[in-house]
Amino acid sequence: MFDFLEDYDLLGAFWTTVQLAVLSAVGSLIWGTLLAAMRVGPVPLMRGFGTAYVNIVRNIPLTVIILFTSLGLNQTLGVSLGADDFESINFRLAVLGLILYTSAFVCEALRSGINTVPVGQAEAARALGLNFNQVLGLVVLPQAFRSSVGPLANVLIALIKNTTVAAAIGVAEAALLMKEMIENEAQLLLISAVIAFGFVVLTLPTGLFLGWVGKKVAVKR
């Protein structure tokens, strides 16, 4: 009954999903933190940029962004991100699209974390004479990150599910493989169950683990 699975690279497809998720997670954590710093910082122009970025990106469908990286950036403007074969170009474009999209949500998760830090913490730090970078870097962000673990875990899980959108530009990940298998085999329910199981395996333990970590590291107030 599971024989036909041997003809397909199921593990390879899920490996691509994992790679997409991990690379995009790292990238969007960095870019999202920068955005959050801009949004709470003292420079009005940066604040405006951060706010505009988040509001615009959150309201565009991820599919539009990913399709645009391929049709617009790559095929029209010739951006290839240093790759030369079709497969790795699309993979990198998908990661770029996922980072651009997810970082807006990372920014918001961090900002909600910053909001949980009591005002007194920042006031005390300023009373000691720390400047903005020190207040944020030494006092507020370390606490904010700890209470952001929960929201960030939710962003990560959403990201894992969002990697399937890369199927729209032909990245050989799990959803594209599912489509291919369904077209070739008469095993709809079985194929769907296998793919669904794969995603449950990826998202559920991640959520449970990070939820546990989040509770453990959260600052008790």
Partner: protein, 301 residues
């Protein structure tokens, strides 16, 4: 909150911020210049490519409006079907009987752990194999099915969180005057929870509208994003122009929905007649991911 992070600016801080502003402005300008010159090099700024959107109505009536209609149709159908399903699942998760609570919980957690695209692909094949829905209608059915399966479980969580967000005194008072469990839910908790949930439901609409675009990209559903593709084929490869127009429409639509949700939320928080329980816009982001262990405010009730 932000202003508490730094002191009122003295002359040195003002100078430093001015430097930051200038540097950032230069970086932005460099980025814009790069975008502009690349677009120009590739001839994407030619007026001929943008003309269809600004002169005449053909592009709007032939491509964009039908696409937008399909987007809205799928989103509205999805929310109308998903709401009652979600309400039933959400209430079932609060049941006192384990044989109701546990299966509902499993269904909700399962469908939230699976990408909506996978559900849509499943729906498309399901309708092709087991029903005689015509192949023209199949993408719409598949998109709505995928959206309903996913959003019913998200809405179930919203309903559950909405009910749990009500003050405990409400159910205590209802039980004290001798209402049955079903009366308590029907007459006391649900009516108040619906009000509390409204902003959350509206902002879930944003997620639904965004997800319809998947149907256009993968399932050949002729919605707004798909019409960008068709247009760029028809108007001589004006990919940038078509995508810009479509993206602006998506942003405008979703921004309007988000603003409406925030307005509703603010209004509900101000109102003196309710218990003040509100499920806000920000809670929806959390609920859309699998919630396991997430920092929900719903635990304590």
């Amino acid at each position: 909150m932000s202003s508490v992070l730094y002191d009122a600016q003295g002359p040195r801080a003002k100078r430093r911020n001015a430097v930051f502003t200038v540097v950032f402005l230069l970086a932005l300008a460099a980025l814009l210049w790069w975008v502009f010159s690349t677009l120009n090099d590739k001839g994407q700024l030619e007026w001929a490519l943008w003309k269809p959107f600004f002169t005449g109505t053909e592009a709007w009536t032939t491509y964009i409006w039908p696409g937008l209609q399909n987007t809205l149709k799928a989103a509205v159908l999805a929310v109308i079907i998903a709401l009652p399903l979600g309400a039933v699942l959400g209430i079932a998760r609060l049941s006192d009987h384990a044989w109701v609570r546990v299966p509902a919980g499993i269904v909700v957690e399962f469908f939230r752990a699976i990408p909506v695209l996978v559900l849509m692909i499943f729906g498309l094949a399901l309708f092709a194999e087991y029903t005689n829905v015509s192949s023209d209608d199949r993408p719409l059915y598949a998109v709505v099915t995928g959206l309903v399966l996913y959003n019913a479980s998200v809405l179930a969580e919203i309903v559950r969180a909405g009910i749990l967000s009500l003050p405990k005194g409400q159910s205590e008072a209802a039980m004290a005057i001798g209402l049955r469990k079903n009366q308590l839910m029907r007459l006391v908790l649900l009516p108040q929870a619906v009000t509390a949930m409204l902003p959350a439901i509206v902002s879930q609409l944003v997620v639904i509208v965004k997800d319809t675009a998947l149907g256009g990209a993968v399932l050949t559903f002729p919605e707004l994003l798909a019409s960008a593709n068709t247009m760029s084929g028809y108007y001589g490869a004006n990919v940038i122009a078509s995508f810009t127009v479509v993206a602006v429409l998506f942003i405008a639509l979703n921004f309007a929905l988000t603003s409406f949700a925030s307005w509703l939320e603010a209004r509900l928080r101000r109102s003196k007649r309710s218990t003040g329980a509100v499920l806000g816009v920000e809670d929806v982001d959390d609920i859309n991911a699998a919630e396991v262990g997430g920092p929900h405010k719903t635990d304590g009730v």
